[in-house]
Assembly symmetry: C2
Homo-oligomer: 151 residues x 2
DNA sequence: TTGCAAATGATAATGATTTTCTGTTAGGCC
DNA sequence: GGCCTAACAGAAAATCATTATCATTTGCAA
């Protein structure tokens, strides 16, 4: 049984427990997500899934994303363009660095920053519930002799 | 001359420098923003400004926000609901803590966290261009005898 | 297998934001 | 002071992601 199959099985029992059903569409979308190593948006997920089942509709993708999110199976992020992007959730917490030139999303995590955030919230009299941290950066050229970009 | 007037004057000369004009509407919107101590969205700004000039239209607010932003006079933020909120920009950089219960937005800044972010980006081979940090928290009760909320 | 709640697909609706269209105005120039 | 015209303004239509509606289909438990 592949990792993807295991995830789908786990989710199916989660659904059952919530009185919801496992359908072909949900299975397919879940598979697409489990196999994605990026952060696709609804349309991206739809496109990939549609290739396997041309009867699928975009509404179903949106609806399914909501179910998946409410079950904690996926995480939703909205970076600067405001569009929701998704990734499966059974992984360690992490934040994102977005390459401002290419749009590439890099995951990272830092205990130090987590701790610091908690402390800052505490100083303000708050208990940290969650946070959103996005770094926007530009790839550094490895240091070379002289100035920028040799032809 | 009030602080608000000073801000408006500064902005007027900025506009001039960019070949743009100072209009009644821009003056009004700028005044509303300068006097706001919260983070209103376009509709909120429109509502407040409309009270002073019922001929103002929402499109003008949106257009003006874009001009103001391009001139660096305001900053735009989009918290979890995805709606753009604005605040005037002539202040120190800061991040936001959002009270998950009340929606209240608290500003804070931390050199430590700025530095840490820069270092994390650097470790990933990136130069930090900007970042977005939002903490979502719940107000801590001052410690009392016993458990939560006494009736 | 049958019944029915839940889910789906197609499509319309929503809501924030942007663009288009067309008429108005500021402000330098004569 | 009056003209000219690019920049403006307001109204309304267009966009775009997302959500709601509704008639039809489908899991799935009895």
């Amino acid at each position: 049984m592949t990792e993807t199959d295991r995830r789908i099985a786990v989710f199916e029992s989660q659904l059952k427990g919530a009185g919801l059903r496992m359908t072909q569409q949900r299975r397919l979308i879940l598979r697409v997500l489990a196999e994605a190593d990026d952060h696709p948006d609804a349309k991206g997920i739809f496109t990939r899934a549609f290739a396997h089942d041309p009867t699928l509709s975009l509404s179903t993708v949106y609806r399914t994303m909501k179910v998946l999110e409410s079950q904690g199976a996926i995480e939703r992020h909205a970076f600067e363009d405001g569009i929701s992007r998704y990734e499966h959730a059974d992984q360690e917490h992490h934040d994102h660095l977005i390459d401002v030139d290419s749009g590439e999303v890099i995951e990272f995590s830092s205990d130090a920053i987590e701790e610091l955030q908690r402390r800052i919230a505490a100083e303000l009299g708050y208990e940290l519930v969650r946070h959103r941290l996005e770094l926007y950066g530009r790839k550094k050229q490895p240091a070379r002799r002289g100035g920028r970009k040799a032809p």
